[in-house]
């Protein structure tokens, strides 16, 4: 009896194809593994990115004392109070001012250095390594040395100025000089680094374009502005974005420029992050500090979006032009060298000689 009762069940099992462990494993591998592979990033991001962000927002809704801890729920009152605080706007102004004073000269100088290093220099590696040297020095050491140099009464710079009969500059007590001093530190540290990145981009520009341009009579400046700069545009955007994020978060330099205060006696160079720090660890108001952190986060997001929009515009317009060029070339394959880069990129064709530029073809070829 028992056997007859059992038989159908056994038969059923036999008709269904048995799923082996191996098969199940491969299904699992197919369906789940990809998620596991990307999981570390998301878990880490949730842990050290998303959670702190959310928790900071939570803290910002409370009266939260550094030492006494969580207090009353106050809603958005902290945000309202921070927006009314004159030192918040002061810090924002200082941040923007230092950011502009550091980013613009830095990019100009970095591009010039990169352009020089892009030439055929003797001991190339030596020059390239030496411009990176400031980047290797820790920011704390940089800040201490520069703070010393920019001392008002005993600093090197004011001493030199004095020997020329110039009045000492109040590097720490006046707003603009203090911003220039701090921007100098930032520039000193980051110019070489950015120059190397831009140099790498410049080296990726095909050399024959320059040759063709030179043959067409473009001088070094024309070549630089019409070939080099447009070609390294994506890298420039990258450099600008990283400089923006770094510039908005500047802390070490102003903090150590006058280590006794949180950004100058009258907050002449208190940046937003320094204001946040003062709020948390001197004024001991953790709720407001969290609020500032969130506002700063939103500002950086805003800047990120602006950057993204601008860069997308630049990138697509660049592509369009390239596309048009290609289209034009396709339409008129034997056209005279109307567009410089196109000539170099084209396979050497006998038509180049007939197009009225007898030298272009042969030189390009022999140059290779």
């Amino acid at each position: 009896m028992t056997t007859t009762l059992n038989r159908p069940a056994a038969g059923k099992a036999a008709t269904k194809p048995a799923v082996t462990f191996r098969q199940r494993l491969s299904v699992f591998d197919l369906k789940v593994s990809p998620y596991l592979y990307i999981a570390p990033f998301f878990i880490l991001f949730a842990l050290v990115g998303l959670f702190p962000l959310g928790y900071t927002f939570f803290v910002s809704l409370f009266d939260w004392h550094l030492l006494r801890g969580q207090g009353e729920f106050v809603g958005l009152q902290n945000f309202q109070e921070v927006f009314q605080d004159r030192f918040f706007w002061n810090s924002l102004f200082n941040t923007m001012s230092i950011f502009l004073l550091s980013t613009i000269p830095q990019l100009v100088v970095a591009i010039s250095i990169a352009a020089v290093l892009d030439q055929n220099l003797r001991a190339r590696t030596f020059w390239r390594m030496s411009i990176l040297l400031p980047y290797v020095v820790t920011p704390v050491a940089v800040a201490m040395i520069f703070a010393n140099m920019f001392g008002e009464q005993y600093g090197l710079i004011n001493n030199i100025l004095a020997s020329f009969g110039v009045d000492p500059i109040m590097w720490k007590n006046e707003t603009l000089p203090s911003h220039i001093a701090i921007a100098t530190m930032v520039n000193w540290r980051w110019t070489g680094y950015n120059a190397l990145i831009l140099l790498a981009a410049m080296q990726a520009v095909p050399r024959d374009i320059y040759e063709s341009a030179a043959i067409d009579g473009a001088g070094p400046f024309r070549r630089f502005f019409s070939i080099t700069l447009p070609s390294i545009r994506p890298t420039m955007i990258f450099v600008v974005i990283t400089a923006t994020i770094g510039g908005l978060q500047i802390f070490t330099e102003p903090r150590l420029f006058d280590p006794r205060t949180a950004g100058g006696t009258a907050k002449q160079f208190q940046t937003t992050v320094l204001y946040l720090w003062e709020m948390a660890f001197q004024r001991q108001n953790f709720g407001k500090a969290a609020t500032i952190a969130w506002i700063l986060f939103l500002i950086i997001v805003l800047f990120g979006v602006i950057n993204w929009l601008i860069s997308r515009r630049i990138a697509t317009s660049g592509d369009d032009r390239g596309g048009n060029r290609r289209a034009r070339r396709r339409k008129r394959p034997v056209a005279p060298a109307a567009v410089l880069p196109a000539v170099g990129a084209q396979p050497p064709a006998p038509s180049a000689d007939t197009a009225g530029e007898p030298l272009a073809g042969p030189t390009t070829r022999s140059g290779r």
């Binding site: 030492l67 109070e81 001392g151 005993y154 205060t261 009258a266 004024r283 001991q284």
Partner: protein, 438 residues
Amino acid sequence: MEYSRLRKITALASVASLAFVASGCGGGNGEPASADNPVALTVTTFGQFGYDDLYAEYEDQNPGVTIEATNIDGSANARTDAFTKLAAGSGLSDVVAVEEGWLGSIMEVSDQFVDLNEYGAADIKDNWVDWKFEQGTDPEGRVIGYGTDIGPQALCFNRTLFEEAGLPTDREEVAELFGGDEATWETYFDLGRQYHEDTGKAWYDQSSFVWNSMVNQMEEGYYTADGELNVEGNEAMRAQFDLLASGTLDGLSANQTQFDWGNGQAFVDGSFAVHVCPAWMLGTIKEQLESAGGGPESGWDVADVFPGGASNWGGAFLSVPQSSEHPVEAAKLAAWLTAPEQQVKQSAAANNFPSTLEAQAEIVEAAVPNELFNDAPYGAIFESRAEGVVAQFKGPYDSVIQENVFAPAVKLLDTGEGTADEAWEEALTLLNDQVVNN
């Protein structure tokens, strides 16, 4: 052969370390430290503490104890360090040095610190000058800090500069010049004006230190004894502020950066002739002189006089946080470091003035001259300056008011950017921004 032996050793080592972890790294179980039960104690101090030799001595006397010391450059950074770690709920050393200026904040969370009464504080209570011991006791009567040093204030002056200006140079005559026991701030500023007129030089380094001294001297400072803010409408304080403002605006301040002084340059180049000197300032000046290549020949001396009477500025405490894993050993170390015998040694090493009566008496008696300050008998001078000091109530934001409210306000006077009224208004605004409506 070689390989398998190595593996055996590795296995043994891992078993041993597991056992070590299982036993709670030793010491945590309340047993006293010994060679078999080693304990590593961490200590955080700031500025000039002079403990290095004492650590070594303690380690010799107590086998099994190792001390890992950290010294932070100044009190303000030590405050940030301690607050950050208190807020984080971990990371504080087993023994933490707390400055008088931010003791008020610490008192708000005094339950985060071990009650030293549980480790015999009552038995050694009488070691200290009474007000120092009281300062370290919270409103519930828990003792959370043993006093290390106190900061009775004397007046430092530069002999060379005084001589050039035709002023007396003998420290007793200088004390008389300022008015001896009757010395007032008015005399101090008037002498300064005379000096400035004769030499064209500044009288003091910057206004903030003078201001701290004036406030510390009052019976009630930034807070009343009941813990209420005591700045707005405080006429006595405003009168002192005006006194300082008129002196500073007359050019008596050298507008130096405090605790920087051009890396000590200002102490050797004759920038200013007098300096307010709480006992621990001698250690600070010593460090500055060393940094600038100065020495006894730089001409600094210290006189047994202080404008406006007795004043105490600063002084520290050693506390044991609740987060310490070895509270017994930590409390023992704190008690030992602050015992009279060790305070005498600390005083010699750090040039500060002890807070225990026995140590004070010993220093006065030993009368070791301070070479850097023209062989001044600093023990006797500061013992005399400590007479009549009353402990002022320090509120939770005392150090913030000192450094973030009044320091920027008097800086306006130093740079000549503001009048007395403007500077006072700025102080009130800053106070409202940063403390009242914080």
